[in-house]
Amino acid sequence: MRCENELLQAYLDRELAEQKAREVKEHLAACRACRRELSRLKLLWLELGQPEAIPLPPELPYLRQQAIAAARPVPRRPEKGRPGFWDIQKLAWRPLSLTTAYLPGSGEVKELVKAAGRELPGLLLGSLAITRRLWRMRRARGKGRGRR
């Protein structure tokens, strides 16, 4: 085996296959120069492996907090199939909100109110009725589950 610095480095890194490592070991036993080189490399390895005490800057906690706020972790939503109070409200009032979404423009609002004026109370009452019904269904389902 020839004297090779690269092999000695890989030997120190424990990256040589078993057979090759054995060859290097045998070579080291016979070669004084390589033994000396190995001890020099070991010194470098020792320095490179030293845990360096890097002073931590005082800004770190602030940066950490900023990152958490920026990413804004969102809490998990309630399980599907069990709508909350506001989900029911949204569902029940959808017909009315859809109607207002189709309002043509501020100039025509007056005309529209005049035309649909008679229907408006009915629409409001209908939405309230849907809310009531959905709310009762939810309560009844809750009670049923409680009895079980």
């Binding site: 004297c3 890194d13 490179l48 950490r64 990413a71």
Partner: protein, 195 residues
């Protein structure tokens, strides 16, 4: 995975801000040190750390809880560092080539000081010289060195973490340590050429 890490990760997934704070404060020193080793600059390391914090918080939902946390975290930091290097290094400067063929201690120290290098040589400490020499290495070489000697990764693991070919990892390690060895040789007055 450390039981506490695992618990904290699960709590983070429930959106509990306190858990994010605990998890990050546990590893912020590690993250910063790794960034500092790569950049050698306080301000740059801070910028990278902040980016890494963000990536950890946003990437946590994709992390597999049954796997160890620290290697995942390290990979996040390495990716942030690599992206930063690609972004910041002008085309005239190379990520993987040293500034010169030889690495003499006097040049190394002269780069960071206005003093007469020969005067400084007399009292310079090994650690200081090593740190100065590391700063002169190309960033990718520094990264590979840090992963090998500080993180104790194998060649194969370094290749996987950095996306570099295995042969390139070996070459960078070999060349970087040869240059650092030159510095050591000057400090300790080793006689060369008698191998």
């Amino acid at each position: 995975m450390d039981a506490d890490d695992r618990q904290l990760v699960l709590m983070c997934r429930e959106g509990r801000e306190e858990a994010y704070r605990q998890l990050l404060s546990r590893y912020e020193g590690y993250i910063y040190s790794l960034c500092y080793r790569l950049t050698g600059q306080r301000e740059d390391a801070l910028e990278l750390s902040q980016e890494a914090f963000l990536k950890v918080v946003t990437g946590l939902p994709g992390f597999q809880v049954n796997r160890p946390f620290k290697p995942w975290l390290r990979q996040v930091v390495v990716n942030v560092c690599l992206n930063y290097l690609r972004r910041r290094t002008p085309e005239t400067l190379s990520l993987d080539q040293p500034a010169g063929e030889n690495f003499f201690l006097a040049d190394t120290l002269a780069a960071g000081s206005g003093d007469d290098p020969q005067v400084r040589l007399e009292w310079v400490e090994t650690r200081e010289a090593l740190r100065a020499a590391l700063e002169r290495l190309p960033p990718l070489w520094r990264l590979v060195l840090a992963l090998r000697h500080q993180e104790e990764l194998s060649y194969q693991e370094i290749a996987a973490a950095t996306g570099l070919p295995l042969g390139t990892v070996k070459t960078y390690l070999f060349r970087a340590r040869n240059l650092l060895r030159q510095v050591f040789s000057e400090i300790y007055g080793w006689e060369e050429g008698q191998r």
